[in-house]
Amino acid sequence: MSGHPTPETGQSPGGRHLGELKKGERARVTGVDERGVVTTLPEGELERRMIEMGLVEGSHVEVLHEAFPGRDPIAIRVNEHTLALRRAEARAVRVAPAA
C-alpha cells in the first residue's frame, strides 16, 4: 500500500498524520497529539474531542471523500461510523499504514 512513510517527505519521525492521507487510503491510528495544531480550543481539548469521536489509538480509518476547494474537509470512516473533519485538525491524529 502507499501508506509507508518515506524519508524524502521530511515527515515527523512518528510517521504520517491523518491530515495528509489521500482519498481511498486506509490507516490505523497510533496516537493523538494536538501539539503543533492551531486551534481556538483550550489545551488538551482537541485531543479529548478526537478521542470522544472515536479517533483513538487502534481505530481503523479510511478517507472516503474530500470536499472542495483544497480537498478539505475530509470525510473518513472511523471503524463503524463516518466523520467529517478538517485536514488542519486531522494533523493531531498520527497514523500508521493499515496492517
Binding site: M53, A67, A75, L85
Partner: protein, 629 residues
C-alpha cells in the same frame, strides 16, 4: 424517600449520542410529535412528556439533546449535562437514566454509557435502531452485554409500532431498583474526564465489544456509493445548488394551481357575503376586513407547504449534514462554520427555530455570528410579500424554453440577495467583533435514510395547522383592528377622496409618509408596515384591506395584485422588495435572540443593523430604479 410513595411521578431521562433516536423513542413512549430528523443536533432543548408504565404507574420522561460526553461543549449539551447531574434549575437528577445507543455504532455509543455508569445512577441501556443493525449484519449478544455492564439491556426500534415494548417491560423493574438505589444513594460524583480517562473508557468499550459483539457491521455500502456522487468536490456542490434552486423554483411552480383555487374560493366567499348582507359596517368588516385580509394571507398556504416539503425531505434523508460538510470551506471564506448551514437552512422556514438551532455551534463567537445573520435568510413569512409583488410587477415569461419562469427567477434572486447579504454581514462581523479562528469541525455523517412518507405528510399537516391557526388568531385579530382603524372616523361631508384617507389608519400613514417618502413608499405601505412588525405576512393582509376599502366604482380591481400594479410605480415595488430582504420586522425573532444571548444587547444590535440595511437598500434601489426606468 421511595420513588413509589412520592407524590411526584418518577422521572426518567433519555440520554445518548446525537442522532441515535432519543426523540423517536420519546415520541413512541409519549405519543408526542417532537421533531425527529436524520442529522446530529436536532433536539436543542429538554422536552417533557408522560406515559403510563405496564404496571399502571405514571412516569415523566425527559428528552434531551444528544451529546458525546457530559463535558458539554455547546449550550445544547449543557442542558443535557445539567439535567443528568441534577443541576437544572434546582431539579433533582432523574430517577432513572435510559441510555439510548445506536446499535449500528456501538463502539462510539457505548463510550458515553461507560461514562454515565460512573455516575452510579440507575441505568437502562436501550439498543436502538436494531432493525438497521440487523440489516448491516451486526450480531450483538444483549444478554452478555447486560451481564458485562451490570445494567438491563433492551433492544428497541423506535420507529416501528411496538418497537419500544421491550423497554416498557423493563421500566417497572428498573424503577423498583431505582427506589433501592435512592435509599442507598451510591456516590453520584462526576468530574470532567481527562484524556487518560477517555482512553480508559475506550479500552473498557473494546473489552465489552470483544465479549458481546460478534460482528459490528460496516457503514452501509449504499450510503457510500451515493456519497461518492453527492460529496464529489464538483458534482456535490453543483447538486447542492441545484437542490436549492429547485426548491425556490418549486415554491412558485407547484403552488400556482392550488393558490388559484384558494383565490377563487376567497373571492367567491367575498361575493357571496357581499350579495347576502345589506350594505353597512358589518358587511364591510366581513368582506374588506376579514375576508380580504385573512384571505390574502391564507392564499400562501400552498407555497409554505412546498417549502416545508423540501426542508422536511432534506432533513429526513441525512443530506443536511452533507451540505454542512460541502460548504465548510466556502463558508469558512466569510468565517462561518460549516455547521452554520443547518440553522441557516431552518431559517428559510422561520428564523426562530434557526436561531435556536445555532445552539449546536460550540464557539460563542461563531454562534453569535450565525444568530446575527439568521434573520437575513428569507423566512416563509416573507414569501407572501414577495409573491404578491412579483405577481403584480413581474410578467410571467418562460425562460430557457419553459424550464424556469421569470417569476421563479426573481424569487431566486431575492433569496440569493438574502443569502449573499448574510454572508457579507458575517464577513464583517467575523473580521471585527468576532475575530478568531474557527471552531474545529468534527461531525458525524449519518447513513442515508429514505424519508417515511407518513412522517413527511404529518409534518406538513402540522405546519398547515400552525399556519392556519396563526391566520385564524393573530392575523384575524390584527385584521379586525386594522379594519377599524381604516374605517373610522368616516369621511367628512363633501369629501373628494376615498373615506380611508380620513381614517385613523390614513392619518398614521400620512404621518409616517415623510419618513418613508425618500425610499418611495406610499402612505398605504407605511400603514401596512406597522402591524407587519408583529407578523410579517400581515402586511399583505393590511394592503388587502386598504385597497378593498379604497376601491371606488371605476377602479375596481379583481385582485390585490392587480390593484397594486395599477397604483404603485415599479421603483416603489422594487424598493419594498429590497426593504423586505433586510427589515427586522419580527418581534418573535428579536425575543428569541434575547433569550438565546441572555440580554437586550444583541437583539438591539440586530435591529439597528438590519433597519439601517433595509433603509439603505431601499433608498438605493428606489433612486437607481427612478433614474433608470
Amino acid at each position: 424517600m421511595s420513588v413509589l410513595d412520592s407524590a411526584l411521578p418518577p422521572r426518567i431521562a433519555l440520554v445518548g449520542n446525537p442522532n441515535c433516536g432519543k426523540t423517536a423513542l420519546f415520541n413512541a413512549l409519549t405519543g408526542s410529535r417532537q421533531k425527529v430528523a436524520n442529522y446530529p443536533g436536532v433536539t436543542v432543548e429538554r422536552k417533557i412528556g408522560h406515559f403510563v408504565s405496564p404496571l399502571g404507574r405514571r412516569v415523566q420522561v425527559i428528552d434531551l439533546p444528544g451529546t458525546y460526553s457530559l463535558r458539554a461543549r455547546s449550550p445544547d449539551e449543557e442542558v443535557t449535562r445539567d439535567v443528568v447531574l441534577g443541576r437544572f434549575s434546582h431539579e433533582d437528577s432523574p430517577d432513572l437514566l435510559v441510555c439510548v445507543a445506536d446499535a449500528t455504532n456501538l463502539r462510539l455509543n457505548l463510550r458515553l454509557v461507560v461514562e454515565l455508569k460512573r455516575l452510579g445512577r440507575p441505568i437502562i441501556l436501550a439498543l436502538n435502531m436494531m432493525d438497521a443493525a440487523e440489516k448491516r449484519g451486526c450480531r450483538i449478544d444483549a444478554a452478555a452485554l447486560s451481564a458485562a455492564l451490570g445494567v438491563p439491556v433492551v433492544p428497541t426500534v423506535a420507529i416501528r409500532r411496538g418497537g419500544v415494548q421491550p423497554l416498557l417491560e423493563q421500566i417497572d423493574g428498573a424503577m423498583a431498583m431505582a427506589t433501592d438505589a435512592a435509599e442507598n444513594p451510591a456516590s453520584c460524583g462526576w468530574s470532567e474526564p481527562s484524556s487518560r480517562d477517555l482512553r480508559a473508557y475506550h479500552q473498557e468499550v473494546e473489552g465489552l465489544l470483544a465479549g458481546c459483539v460478534a460482528d459490528a457491521g460496516l457503514p452501509p455500502l449504499a450510503t457510500r456509493r451515493v456519497d461518492a456522487v453527492l460529496l464529489h468536490p464538483v458534482f456535490g456542490l453543483a447538486f447542492l445548488f441545484l437542490v436549492l434552486f429547485l426548491m425556490f423554483q418549486a415554491v412558485f411552480a407547484w403552488a400556482e394551481a392550488p393558490m388559484n383555487l384558494i383565490d377563487g374560493a376567497v373571492s367567491g366567499l367575498k361575493d357571496w357575503v357581499a350579495a347576502t348582507l345589506p350594505d353597512g359596517a358589518l358587511r364591510s368588516l366581513l368582506t374588506d376586513g376579514i375576508i380580504a385580509g385573512v384571505g390574502s394571507v391564507v392564499i400562501f398556504l400552498p407555497q409554505i407547504l412546498v417549502l416545508f416539503f423540501f426542508i422536511l425531505v432534506l432533513e429526513a434523508t441525512g443530506y443536511l449534514a452533507r451540505a454542512a460538510f460541502l460548504l465548510d470551506r466556502l463558508m469558512g471564506g466569510v468565517g462561518l462554520h460549516g455547521r452554520a448551514f443547518i440553522p441557516l437552512l431552518s431559517s428559510f422556514a422561520c428564523a426562530v427555530p434557526g436561531v435556536m438551532a445555532a445552539r449546536t455551534i460550540e464557539n460563542r463567537a461563531d454562534r453569535l455570528a450565525t444568530i446575527m445573520i439568521a434573520p437575513l435568510m428569507t423566512c416563509s413569512a416573507r414569501l407572501p410579500v414577495y409573491t404578491l409583488l412579483i405577481a403584480a410587477f413581474v410578467p410571467d415569461r418562460p425562460l430557457l424554453g419553459g424550464l424556469v419562469g421569470l417569476p421563479g427567477l426573481v424569487m431566486f434572486a431575492l433569496y440569493a440577495a438574502g443569502i449573499l447579504s448574510a454572508l457579507a454581514v458575517a464577513f464583517v462581523l467575523k473580521g471585527t467583533v468576532f475575530k478568531g479562528a474557527r471552531e474545529p469541525l468534527l461531525m458525524e455523517l449519518p447513513a442515508y435514510r429514505l424519508p417515511n412518507p407518513r412522517d413527511i405528510a404529518l409534518g406538513l399537516f402540522e405546519r398547515a395547522k400552525v399556519f392556519l391557526a396563526r391566520a385564524g388568531t393573530t392575523i384575524f385579530a390584527l385584521m379586525i383592528v386594522m379594519w377599524f382603524l381604516a374605517s373610522f372616523p368616516g369621511a367628512p361631508e363633501g369629501a373628494t377622496e376615498p373615506a380611508i384617507q380620513y381614517s385613523i389608519a390614513g392619518m398614521i400613514g400620512h404621518a409616517l409618509e415623510p419618513l418613508l417618502a425618500p425610499i418611495g413608499f406610499t402612505w398605504q405601505i407605511a400603514v401596512a408596515l406597522v402591524p407587519g412588525i408583529a407578523a410579517r405576512e400581515v402586511a399583505v393582509g393590511v394592503l388587502g384591506t386598504i385597497y378593498a376599502l379604497s376601491e371606488s366604482g371605476d377602479a375596481l380591481q379583481s385582485s390585490l395584485a392587480g390593484a397594486l400594479a395599477a397604483s404603485w410605480s415599479l421603483p416603489t415595488a422594487l424598493s419594498l422588495l429590497a426593504w423586505y430582504v433586510f427589515a427586522p420586522q419580527c418581534v418573535a425573532t428579536l425575543s428569541v435572540v434575547k433569550r438565546e444571548t441572555n440580554g437586550w444587547f444583541w437583539p438591539a444590535v440586530m435591529f439597528v443593523y438590519m433597519i439601517t440595511l433595509a433603509y439603505g437598500a431601499s433608498f438605493i434601489t428606489y433612486r437607481v430604479a427612478l433614474a433608470l426606468l
